[in-house]
Subunit: 195 residues, 2 copies
DNA sequence: ACCTGAACACCGTTCAAGT
DNA sequence: ACCTGAACACCGTTCAAGT
């Protein structure tokens, strides 16, 4: 005899992401998610394959939100301004949702990772901006350089790894400025050295 | 009545680090560590405060090994060569011990993190090399920029995040070259260059 | 001093049984 | 069709009891 669902996938994912953010991944428990949406633990398995699947759905949710923030921020005429906006948007998202951000590019089983097509979508504004500066040939390498720096900085900041003192905000702007500047084509004069 | 210890802290840490590397952090279990060193689970608590403490000891062990690798690699006359050697050493360590490397700068409770004085020690070669290129004033910001890039690149590589194709090794060298070049003082527009 | 079994509160997951 | 309690194998950790 059919019975109406007492919860929904979207409610489960929302509750799980909230729990992740407040208590961390190790406290993101099937039982606690179930409790948050008002069912018993085993019922979740009617909506989700297992805990890894739930992590994947949280990632999908988060990368879409991050992606739309990035798209909204990267609308300048000048690709350098777009790059700066993208980096600051990433950092802002990480500050709003540190646990969720950490999850996005954490080391995990493949089945737990957010979907690749969402990754492609999220990466597009960065690739576009970088192509203008570094040229088509170096597009991918330059995008990886830029994202590696931004992601590394944000990750270390979230991990509390910047403990040697100094102004962390200033260090972020320092890196951002130097990095954007470094994207000019390298060989721009036959006679002088490079920058 | 005193009885001789049937295991030791160093044996426990070594077994735990090995278990971490082979099976991942979530499978690093007190019971499995105990089994690996030949005692029962509860006995570990005579040597270690709790699981977080064990994670901290693994981190201490790993950062010391990484630190000595970095020191051994950063012995060139030219600070640019030292920077390149440092980055490649980090990446090599991460390839040898991906789980351990991921752990080192992961988001964790403070009590789980490796000791700060070991961090200072490990950072010294980088700070020294960077100071020669970026100048004393920008030393810390430049070191953070460099390490953020290297760490971000390595982290993404370990996480399997580079899935847009392209040559990842080439992207690493691209970033490394551009980054080292970017450490010249920025205002060279007076017609001169630096150094 | 160190090790042990038993115990407690918690996990993820399965499954037969309910509606 | 969805939800549930009971069950299983596993956790981390404590503690009284052994030697």
């Amino acid at each position: 005899m059919p019975t109406p669902p007492r919860t929904s996938l979207t409610a489960i994912v929302r509750a799980a992401r909230h729990l992740l953010e407040t208590d961390g991944l190790e406290h993101l428990t099937m039982l606690r998610v179930a409790q948050a949406v008002g069912v018993r633990g085993p019922s979740l398995y009617k909506h989700v394959r297992d805990r890894g699947d739930l992590v994947r759905l949280i990632g999908n949710d988060a990368i879409q939100e991050l992606s739309s923030r990035v798209s909204a921020a990267a609308t300048h005429e000048n690709p350098r301004q777009d790059l700066q906006a993208i980096a600051r948007t990433l950092r802002g998202f990480a500050r709003d949702y540190p646990e969720t951000y950490s999850l996005l590019w954490a080391r995990m089983p493949d089945a737990w990772r957010f979907d690749q097509d969402l990754n492609v979508l999220a990466t597009e504004p960065l690739l576009r901006a970088v192509a203008c500066l570094a040229g088509e040939a170096d597009r991918l390498a330059a995008a990886r350089m830029f994202f590696a720096w931004a992601h590394g900085f944000i990750t270390m900041e979230l991990a509390g790894a910047f403990r040697l003192g100094g102004d962390v905000d200033a260090a972020f702007e320092f890196g951002l400025g130097r990095l954007v500047a470094a994207f000019s084509p390298p060989v721009r004069s036959q006679k002088s050295s490079q920058r």
